[in-house]
Amino acid sequence: MDSDNEFLDNVDSGNVSSGDEGDEDFGMDVDPASSTERQLDTEEYQYKVLTTDEIVQHQREIIDEVNVVLKLSTPTTRILLNHFKWDKEKLFEKYFDGNPEEFFKCAHVINPFSKGTEAVRQKTTRNHPEECEICFSLLPPDSMTGLECGHRFCLTCWREYLTTKILTEGLGQTISCAAHGCDILVDDVTVTKLVPDTRVKVKYQQLITNSFVECNQLLRWCPSVDCTYAIKVNYAESRLVRCKCGHVFCFACGENWHEPVQCRWLKKWIKKCDDDSETSNWIAANTKECPKCSVTIEKDGGCNHMVCKNQNCKYDFCWVCLGSWEPHGSSWYNCNRYDEDEAKAARDAQEKLRSSLARYLHYYNRYMNHMQSMKFENKLYASVKQKMEEMQQHNMSWIEVQFLKKAVDILCQCRQTLMYTYVFAYYLKKNNQSMIFEDNQKDLESATEMLSEYLERDITSENLADIKQKVQDKYRYCEKRRTVLLDHVHEGYEKDWWDYTE
């Protein structure tokens, strides 16, 4: 995509570095020809960033394309397309497949070819006054209007009805006829005609544009706050897209770009982190309840003889078997009833919960740690910028100091990838490939930490050449390792190596 190049700003170019622990292959001011955000697949993922106007335009184009074939009225086609989630192939398929009665009925449109509509039209050319069923006024026919379904109401009532639906209920393309039990939809041209208020019209336009983007599988709003762009793709897939506002995200799920983990696992993970299921896991793993008053107790040391601190309870019981303390006599530190089946089962269950909690926390801590570091890395951009300026005063050219910015870019990408590798790993079952993955992860992680450390060092004119060398070698190595890790995971997806725990 066009935006990639300006971001990547390849100062270096040329040969491929050795990519191994690269301390010895210095002096090559070169970079892997790859762009750092390069897709693993060779073909480019085609997408476009659309402004709101372009979205409206795009909408019209789709309608026109369909109308070349169907030759229906534009508003009707719009309703039909909306019904099929703007998938014109599906619309055509159903249109030419099934029976037209059923087709139009499902889409809540009156079949334009049925003879019934003629009758309705004729009926409406009468001259005597009609009563509006909403305001109960007798009005001349030219003050009354209705859809093809034949339910007629006065213009004022229509206006109020539509305004309420749009402003109060936030309905757009799904407003139906005002008659009770009639599900025929009001088309956009009718709405615009009947509602004179610009404020309502603008809101209506927003609502139908929004539903167009949201139900269209090939479009997604940029999830960034206050961003009004949408991304349009040719086929929906979990791929990296970059909005004009600079936000980078996954097209399929709208989350930050989360390679190598797949959308569904990330979704599960986020939910797991968000809800308090882990809190209750912790409570289950680390506490017991007083067998008498059920107050939750965390044992933080001492013997097994428990006395409930609840002033109204003060029950004496054994922590191990949760039975009354009395039969235990004077054996404060042991419970000889410990091996009873029931107690054993309870203990095993608790053991299981404890280890699953420990496992979760292991991955969670590392995930959060990289996320946290990534935030600090953003601060690093500021300090690096300053360093770059200083270095330029020490007889270095602008182009010679660009390696620093590049290093921070790569550092951030590595952090982001590492962060999501922990989500991937959490759901992964152990097998040979998962062990290779973990080695890759470990390798990338230690290299990333080293790069991070180099970048935090003070740069003086004495160590400058040395630092530059080290930083460049390290970031090349990191980048290489990142690609290796991602390639390996993708190969696994293709060859079905990965087993999941859930």
């Binding site: 069923e133 909403i134 305001c135 109960f136 006024s137 339910h151 109401f153 004022t156 009532c157 109020e160 009805y161 309420t164 109060t168 209920e169 936030g170 005002a178 008659a179 009770h180 039990g181 009639c182």
Partner: protein
């Protein structure tokens, strides 16, 4: 029939601001005892027309408490009789209709009031009614009369007098306004 419910959160409560239309002073009565039209706003005209047709040709078993209406056009009390041959034969119930200023584009708030709340699987003991036309299936082309008819037929088709299964919890936790409850309409057969 309703099984689940929750408080409306995501949807803007339809009738959050209920602006009471200015109360009518007791309107002069026409010869047949019907109040005369005083104001010609569309809102009042519609309510007056509905009232007149309800007084003139009430559905069987339905009577309007005209006194309550004369005091305040936006709150009607309507008496409804249990039909013969149904489980509610011989019982009298009272409904309260509240109309906000968006009526009829917004649905009326309808509850059972008084001492006798019908024991019915769609009626909570606080008088709230689970009926889809009172919220999402409302249409401005419906009227007080059609709501009364729906409620009457809901009562008539009942085969077992019992409260909704979640009555206790609902009555404890619900909003005073039944329209703020997000209803799940499960079964239209009862």
């Amino acid at each position: 029939m309703l099984k689940l419910f929750k408080k409306t959160k995501d949807k803007i409560p339809k009738s959050e601001i209920i602006i009471e239309p200015k109360e009518l002073k007791t309107p002069p009565l026409s010869k047949c005892g019907k109040p005369l039209l005083l104001d010609n706003t569309r809102w009042e005209r519609r309510l007056h027309k509905e009232l007149m047709s309800l007084i003139k040709e009430p559905p069987p078993g339905v009577t309007v408490d005209t006194e309550s209406v004369q005091q305040n056009l936006s709150e009607w009390k309507i008496n409804i009789k249990g039909f013969e041959g149904t489980l509610y034969e011989g019982e009298d119930f009272q409904l309260l209709f509240k109309f906000n200023n968006k009526y009829p584009f917004d649905s009326p708030e309808v509850t059972f009031i008084g001492n006798n709340i019908p024991v019915h699987p769609h009626v909570y003991s606080n008088g709230h009614i689970c009926l889809s036309i009172l919220t999402e299936d409302w249409s401005p082309a419906l009227s007080v009369q059609s709501v009364c008819l729906s409620i009457a037929s809901m009562l008539s088709s009942c085969r077992e007098k019992k409260r909704p299964p979640d009555n206790t919890l609902y009555v404890k936790t619900c909003n005073k306004n039944p329209k703020k409850t997000k209803w799940w309409y499960h079964d239209d057969s009862v």
